[in-house]
Symmetry: C2
Subunit: 338 residues, 2 copies
Amino acid sequence: MAATLKDVALAAGVSIKTVSNVINDYQHIRADTKQRVMEAISELGYSPNLSARSLRSGKTGVIGLAVPELSLSYFAELADSIIKAAERRGLKVLIEQTGGDRAHELEILSSPRLQMTDGLLFSPLGMSNEDAHHLNVNFPLVLLGERIFGGPTDHVTMSNVESARAATAHLISKGRRRIAVVGGHEGEVIGSAGLRLRGYQQALEEAGIPFDPSLVGYTTFWHRANGATTMKALLESGVEFDAMFGMNDTLALGAMRVLQEAGRRIPDDVAVIGFDDLDEGRYSLPTLSTIAPGRDEIADTAVRVLQERISGPDSDVPPREFEAHFQVIERESSALPG
Amino acid sequence: MAATLKDVALAAGVSIKTVSNVINDYQHIRADTKQRVMEAISELGYSPNLSARSLRSGKTGVIGLAVPELSLSYFAELADSIIKAAERRGLKVLIEQTGGDRAHELEILSSPRLQMTDGLLFSPLGMSNEDAHHLNVNFPLVLLGERIFGGPTDHVTMSNVESARAATAHLISKGRRRIAVVGGHEGEVIGSAGLRLRGYQQALEEAGIPFDPSLVGYTTFWHRANGATTMKALLESGVEFDAMFGMNDTLALGAMRVLQEAGRRIPDDVAVIGFDDLDEGRYSLPTLSTIAPGRDEIADTAVRVLQERISGPDSDVPPREFEAHFQVIERESSALPG
DNA sequence: AGGCGAGTCTACAACGTTGTAGGATGAGCG
DNA sequence: CGCTCATCCTACAACGTTGTAGACTCGCCT
């Protein structure tokens, strides 16, 4: 069906290899030969067979991206950034959804499901630090997210502790001292929740505010519904607070809705800040203050580092850790006289 | 590096082809031979080279999905559904973002960028019905969305007219007669905006309500910001209305925020319904009534049809059109005594 | 005894590409 | 005139897999 090098070679009256050379910009080709080949190519509508090329070269030009779910806005926006970053480097992206399920995540690492790709950007959610050794695989792998630290691979992550500290400090700078947290994971030390809670505590400490555990609302997942139910529980517990730090925007938005239903004014009664800088927070009522975690920087770094691992010499470079730069973005939900 | 059929064959003391036969479940193999081969396979950690397999078979097991942007929630959720549907059928999905740009969309159709895939699910935004002939490509292609109708390929779409009519009828059933629309595209006949506006008009007609053009708010894009500015313009125009139909949820949410800022109560002063059934609308304040467009059905149909085209005999089946089933979902934003 | 068919396995070619080695041509130089 | 050397091109092999054709064994039927 589709034209091959052979067809083009026949049409142009040259050898197969010469056509191949033209395509690959080999230097020593006479101008008229080149011209003739080019004409034959466009006449036959030839385009190279990528499977064959992959077989020869061992490279596919495709990278894998494994995320929990695209319907979680953060991962959708991350995927967007990553696809764009990959495109800039001439790579395509094949997306795999793990559902945040540990078994599914391990399966992706061990089975040949991503055979078609040159390497993998991996954002686990179900795995924990004890699973780090599973990352010891024999293909290029770059880890994303905050579930595992000190693993055997390159790792690109947010500045979780510092940015959570900045978020909390921001609320403190607005005169708030009773700051509720929505989204804690009981007993977690590593992981977005654990790290961000640490940042929260650091900020309190710096300001000389004692840490009150009853202000921390725990939840397993970070969906809108969880933000809502966690906030409901906080309200029912009767604990007082004049500010809230949502561990991500989605939680914050769900929680805000419950606060408003309960008659609390934002930011007057409760100042709110989230985390992630989702587009959504720009148009909520009120607009949501947040931490911009440097998504484009994360995407760009991750793709660049993966590409280095793919083409670079084997493993003489030890695993590296990258932290993206964050920014505190003040919007209406925390806009108060500082 | 990685083990090949040859290595396994050597280890098991059989021919390459026998190993291949074991892998492909060929019937006539002695039990002990099979056993020996299996052992060699797991011992060497063999897994087939997919590039080679693709080269031989002409199939990659990967389909392409071209959408405007994953940061648009609708497309993120669509991609989610499609990846899941593809997984059920043993396919992987490679995602390409067009940015909704016509030139970029045409380029994807004409260039060999998606060579690595067996077929393409294509959701254009910039192209219009006049570009339909560009869909006449020589690889399996299934069209999604409402930009082009009557094209030369299979097409999976929402019931735009009918569901917009149902949305409007829903507002009418709540006693509303002055129904504003947010998201019209000036002069458009085909396309989500044009079709949904038609459904809106049909519902009015059925109810004997005259169509008032000044109730239609036009906008080019369907982001949150556009919903907000369009609603601002409507309010400034001084036109009166007691309900609003947002052509999608994002627009509706943006518009709701402006309405609330202007002091209009929802649903008391203005009843609101959107379109798309985004997760977000389940946790907005108030929760957003909407049309569930049957996303899973769309995804499932699209993947199934594409797979049929990929493996099926060539083109003896004429292009087919599929319309997913929709549902009106009533939430707080339109919850009024019927 | 000869022949047949089912079961089991193998050798070889082919998919379309690129790397390697080397052949042919002509210019430059002693 | 003969040599070298750069330029331009070609033949062949190889990447790892699967389809095709056929070899060989065995039991069973005529």
